[in-house]
Assembly symmetry: C2
Homo-oligomer: 540 residues x 2
């Protein structure tokens, strides 16, 4: 039986892959992708796996029944449990396609307000159940998976889909109070009539939530300056097992350690983020974008460093290596491509763009003709290059699912490192990843880009595509990922720039994080979550 | 007996007031100030208090003797103890002038390295002594004062003056590893040969330390964008009673709650910040500055809001009200003054300045002729307006001391509030402060400025000058401050934007801070400082 609450979400989300059940690539697109990737990897035999049917998947019996006081809130519906089993990593899609839903939560909570949420947490405390906050479910690090240890009598996935409103808009301060479960498109839609925008576009934009962005320190639209959601958070409201914690709304404060910062990156381990006051932007009116080609990645990276150190603050400053440019149809694979974009609601951008392009040329960059000048766009209009990029970018997860169905290993990982180490770091990580992938799969395409750049370093992002062996693709990927992450740690990078820690990065995070900080964070968690029910296994 | 270590600091710092013993205003300057302030307040009889002599002050006997293992590190010298009794608030200067040094620490530790520091902390733990980190000693909120309760057998002020070196410079990433005890001028001097600068200029710049800036989330040079030291911290190294905690150096990371953020604003309550990797700037080559006059503060504030919301990022965007402009000799008192400055190491600033001035004109701003165009400055050169302002700004604490010697009540306080509340907030705080000061002192001058502006709000700063009664000036000020802070809290402001909490703001901070955050922070403290010796009384 489908619970009445879950039925409110239409079209229904795919329970095994990205997007809605009616989404994804159509057959012609999948066929084209198959030809293209087959040729690229030299693989002739690619058989497409069927998508799993809900009635066929392995789903354990729930370990408890919903108490009468929570029957309206807790769903134990087969669809809901399957759909809340995984995030959206490659490992998740593979297991989903294989019909393996053995780590499904015993129930999915769909609270309508904080009072219901509070009762769900109290129930979890009482019965020793793991409480796992679930926003858009787009985690690629095992952040929403009920992989919990034996001390728990079960797990409840807490879906925030009903916390989906903009509660207040302060046009003067350009800020809004927004509920944590609101997904990207609805959030932007609600702000549009006010001429405002959060302008936070992670790749998961369509199916990720404000609360999730905050809990995972998501990286978004801005390539420089404000790259993480962190800087847009004015205050947060968090429901913890110990009660509600609401920070005050200030543009800035020096009163002790910033309380909201404890919850940025808290990954559901400290409580559920139900609301936040967010800093907004006026919708841009002026845009300038340009593309520069470089003989190699190193020259492009030097240009990007110089541009960001010059204080030019481009919104887009994405460097694609040759393979990455080829993947996205933006080059022939021989050159690295720097995508530059400036935007403003207030003023033209010619001076900044000219200076940025002059820096790019200084490193041998060939600027694509006809690009670079400021264009004034009507409300909602979007320039060609940026639009194409964005469409392709948002399509990424669908492509990934289609490739996974073709038996590929296809996954990404990301990091950040200071510029002094960048060149050696990038070479070492690329090399370790390529070697591991080739060893595992026989052949592999490993490409990279810079997604965000800082005056003191960059965030490199890597994509691995390789033909997987028929079974055990999760283990095959894990082997590659371990090799990649060991190289990252050995050469001074962080285990994650914006994908978060979750359960998958835990062993590496434990090595990166200072031990005493773990003690301090663990003690703080105990104060807020004395019985340790909140998303156990992530962070701590 | 003077310890050999303390003698290394020459010229010696004043033990009761700002700066060095040979610093401060000369007699002619003090006489001019007396005439000016007397006229301004209508007070004819102003008698100057003599400065205290070290041999006359009331200093209690130390409650313990330095153990043999620490005789080289712990000084119980009269000068050192007196000089480490207070920060540099008005309340501190008054008590210093009155010879009241009853809360002096029993000893001053002058560790040369982390090993000595570790031994000092172990001694404090063993003997139940409060351990109070001391950088430049510029706290204006009671942050370094040994006002500790009966459970302690005494107090040790831990002076970081020997942690005074730049240890590494990474020119590629524009960052440096700097010791926590380094004061502003020495730090800039050490970075200059590399063409780099931290560009953090709080008013205390001459006599405040990097570790202190980090521990108090100091506000500096930048009026917009990066206003707090926070954004320049790449990593920190902290010696806690539980051991050393060192965070890794990354340009950005999404791996859990940012560990360094716990120590930003930690005010010495979690440990001693011995080192930090700091993000640096290239020394500016281009500067543009301009001044615009407005009929009132409200119009100036609207212009400032619009400029910062336009994403123009001026380095200086300081709005002075009429009285403030008069105080600093920059106006006749009838108009509000907006000081605008842009700077860059890379490019001219005409477009940004033109746009900012056009916004200012839109709110009736009259732009001072001959200002606004970009000038290229030689290394170390500084343009006229900014230079004058900076000189005056850094002179502030000396003027304050001189006025305090004249029996004045003279103090500042600061806050931040979102724009939607700004107008009512500013009026209410100004009114409450003026009424309280007039009640206490008969007459008073209360002026205000905006020191930092954000897209979502501003940081107003207030200065109170009033003729104090002969005795009890600390209590007189406290009465004014309580009235001001009650108005701040009632109208949605923070208890401090960049002065920190210390002991003086504690009762108000306790009301501002979410209770559950206090629990979490307290638990984190216990993990790092299990016996609670670190700067007890601040924050928690």
């Amino acid at each position: 039986m489908t619970s009445p609450r879950s039925a409110e979400s239409t079209p229904r989300r795919s329970f095994w892959g990205w997007g809605n059940e009616d989404g994804g690539l159509d057959e012609a697109e999948r066929e084209a992708l198959k030809m293209m990737m087959g040729a690229r990897l030299g693989v002739t035999e690619l058989t497409e796996l069927a998508i799993p049917r809900l009635e066929d998947v392995r789903l354990p019996e729930p370990r408890f029944a919903a108490p009468s006081s929570l029957v309206a809130v807790l769903s134990q519906d087969r669809y809901e449990r399957a759909a809340h089993t995984y995030g959206k990593a490659f490992r998740d899609i593979v297991r989903g396609l294989e019909g393996d839903f053995t780590s499904a939560p015993d129930a999915v909570a769909l609270p309508k307000d904080e009072e219901e949420l509070r009762r769900v947490l109290a129930f979890c405390e009482e019965r020793s159940l793991a409480a796992i906050p679930y926003g858009g479910g787009s985690s690629v690090v095992g952040g929403v998976e009920a992989r919990v240890d034996g001390r728990f009598g079960g797990a409840v996935s807490i879906d925030l889909r009903f916390f989906n409103r903009v509660l207040e808009v302060d046009v003067t301060s350009r800020a809004a109070r927004i509920q944590g479960g609101m997904l990207g498109p609805a959030l932007e839609e609600a702000l549009r009539p006010h001429g405002l925008s959060l302008r936070h576009y992670p790749q998961s934009f369509e199916f990720s939530s404000l609360g999730g962005w905050i809990a995972t320190r998501a990286g978004g639209h801005y390539a420089t300056l404000h790259t993480h959601i962190d800087d847009f958070v004015e205050s947060v409201r968090v429901v913890t097992p110990s009660g509600v914690l609401a920070t005050r709304r200030f543009p800035g404060s020096g009163a002790g350690p910033a309380p909201e910062r404890l919850f940025l990156g808290s990954e559901g381990a400290l409580g559920v983020i139900t609301e936040a006051w967010m800093r907004l932007q006026q919708r841009p009116r002026f845009r300038a974008s340009a593309t520069a080609r470089f003989v190699d990645f190193r020259h492009g990276a030097e240009a990007a460093r110089q541009i960001v150190q010059a204080g030019l603050h481009p919104q887009n400053c994405r460097l694609l290596d040759g393979g990455e440019a080829l993947n996205t149809g933006a080059g022939d694979g021989s050159r690295s491509l720097l995508l530059l974009g400036f935007e403003s609601a207030d003023h033209g951008l010619d001076a900044a763009m000219e200076r940025a392009l002059s820096i790019a040329r200084g490193f041998g960059g060939e600027v694509k003709e006809g690009t670079g000048s400021t264009r004034e766009t009507g409300e909602g209009a979007r320039d060609g290059d940026a639009g194409t990029w964005r469409t392709m970018f948002l399509k990424g997860p669908y492509l990934r699912d289609a490739l996974t169905r073709l038996g590929m290993i296809v996954e990404t990982f990301e990091t950040a490192v200071t510029w002094d180490r960048f060149e050696a770091f990038h070479a070492a990580v690329l090399d370790a990843t390529t070697r591991a992938a080739t060893e595992v799969a026989g052949t592999a395409v490993v490409t990279s880009r810079l997604t965000h750049v800082y005056p003191d370093g960059a965030a490199p992002y890597f994509t691995v595509i390789a033909p997987g062996k028929a079974s055990g693709r999760v283990a095959q990927w894990d082997e590659i990922k371990i090799a990649a992450t060991e190289a990252i740690l050995a050469h001074g990078g962080t285990v994650t720039h914006h994908h978060a820690v979750g359960r998958d990065h835990r062993p590496f995070y434990d090595r990166e994080r200072p031990d005493l900080f773990a003690s301090a964070l663990g003690a703080a968690k105990t104060a807020l979550d004395p019985r340790g029910i909140m998303n156990p296994g992530v962070l701590l």
